[in-house]
Symmetry: C2
Subunit: 309 residues, 2 copies
């Protein structure tokens, strides 16, 4: 029994605003990330390797707001963050405030495996990445016209960077990516990566690198990856809340995930979604936005990809 579930963010434009071409490209990219992660699981690899591989594939695609296609801060540079968590050991790694690392999720993995800490941020994190021989890129690698224009539009509007505005702006500033997986050994893992809110302040840390907020994995309960306005996920400790409801209220994953999203995030006024997977392969993919790029693949090898309800 193995399974991989991914998301490409809850920042999906309304159906009418989505072009046929963009939808087709996005579906291909999601299917390719599923294929890459599924190959790991099918070869007997770990869920940890599978989520790292799937998320790295999404980071390399400029369509998603993570890695290559990251959003810009209001000062005009990308500032990425990512996390990974191993459900077997409950160890985790995270990195934040990254400007040059090609695959933030791979740095998160190195923080977990090769550092004494759970989270590294800023220039020191990038020095560590260099020491680990991870590829670094120049600013032009991360430059996409679409993200740049979205940042400029949002910045000109002024005021606080809000998820609502980004959704209204055809969702073009959006697209955190993530993956949760179950491998043949029965181990769960989760990973999340993002460029953050378009026109966010430099130095802003969101929920993505935070265990319990934007990512969580524990073999006893579930693996979770979140997407949406990070401030709400952080303050609601949403990812861990799914696990806590399963452990303490004995809820099924679908019920726990829906309740966590509603009561810990949506009720406070937040927008977003999450993917969650338990050890029996049950998954839940709730969101309260018009859509969420998502997909999964299991034992039968069929890759299913969805955008709207």
């Amino acid at each position: 029994m193995h399974k991989l579930v991914i998301h490409g963010g809850a920042g999906v434009p309304d159906r009418g605003a989505m072009t046929t071409e963009r939808e087709a490209l996005t579906r291909v990219a999601l299917a390719a990330a599923l294929a890459a992660g599924d190959a790991v699981l099918r070869g007997g690899g770990s869920s940890l390797d599978a989520v790292e591989t799937a998320v790295a594939a999404l980071e390399d695609c400029p369509l998603f707001n993570a890695g290559r296609g990251s959003a810009f801060t209001d000062e005009g540079f990308v500032e990425m963050e990512a996390s990974i968590m191993d459900g077997r050991s409950r160890r985790s790694g995270a990195a934040s405030l990254l400007h040059r690392v090609r695959n933030p999720v791979r740095l998160a993995r190195r923080v977990m495996d090769c550092s004494p800490h759970a989270m590294l941020a800023g220039e020191a994190a990038e020095r560590f990445a260099e020491g680990q021989k991870l590829p670094l890129e120049r600013p032009d690698y991360f430059h996409t016209a679409e993200r740049w224009d979205a940042m400029v539009r949002l910045r000109e509007r002024g005021g606080a960077p809000r998820f609502e505005d980004q959704l209204a702006d055809s969702g073009r500033g959006m697209g955190t990516v993530g993956a949760v997986a179950l491998d043949r050994h029965g181990d769960l893992a989760a990973a999340t990566s993002t460029g953050g809110l378009a026109a966010k302040w430099a130095g802003r840390v969101g929920d993505t690198p935070v265990v319990g907020a934007g990512v969580y994995a524990d073999n006893e309960t579930c693996a979770v990856s979140c997407t949406g306005q990070g401030e709400y996920f952080l303050r609601g400790t949403v990812a861990y809340d799914v696990a806590a409801r399963m452990a303490y209220l004995d809820l099924a994953i679908e019920v726990a995930a829906a309740a966590a999203l509603q009561e810990r995030m949506a009720d406070a006024g937040g927008l977003g979604g999450l993917i969650a997977l338990d050890r029996r392969g049950n998954c839940a993919l709730p969101f309260n936005t018009p859509g969420m790029y998502r997909g999964w693949v299991g034992e039968d090898g069929e890759r299913r990809v969805f955008i709207y309800e």
Copy 2:
């Protein structure tokens, strides 16, 4: 009904290694922080103002590993972090990777009140502090011979910076501070501030600035501030777990706090403690280290201060 509970860290030297002078000075400092926060509550002020005031007083005292007396990274500078959370609104603010801000907890408060984000880190956070007219200090303000020597000793030992080593080193690299309070309006609040592990890597983010890990407050359940090896508190989402056990298992705060510390932190091999307070003024102060600097003051105005069991 109002109450204030504080801690000055779980990194307490063994009884035999504590000098009479240091113990006396520490008791005076804890009592002074209690008095400062209690004055806010007694004057009808908010729990939020009380925890900020008490934590700022501890940050100003060089005896504790936060603000003035912060530990040094293995590169020889301080890198502080802090957080604050309002149990009424469940809003929060946090700041990390600070080198110059005199009172990190006051910056955390400004992030909550005056920024669109929940967490800011690094140079951008200090630029924000400057814009907010918060006092910044030069490196010599933060220099204490004791912390410097501890860092050098630990660095010379090599290997990963571990809480165990710091405890063995007479606990001199330790001393995260925190406060939880209940005000006359029935509102809870929590704040935590730290210089982090002595000889930690530059760029390391611990549990202190993370909602759900090192800090949490919700009027429906409790206010929590943690101290100890941050990596374990982060991965265990310990602060929120106390609240989750109260909400979902209907446990009393003493039982919830002890179980969260044991099952989510100690069982994984972690060392530390926490303080927790509920809306009826019940509090719990569990720790699995030789001691934890701590104290509380309630309606009767008597300031109680403890170090060991």
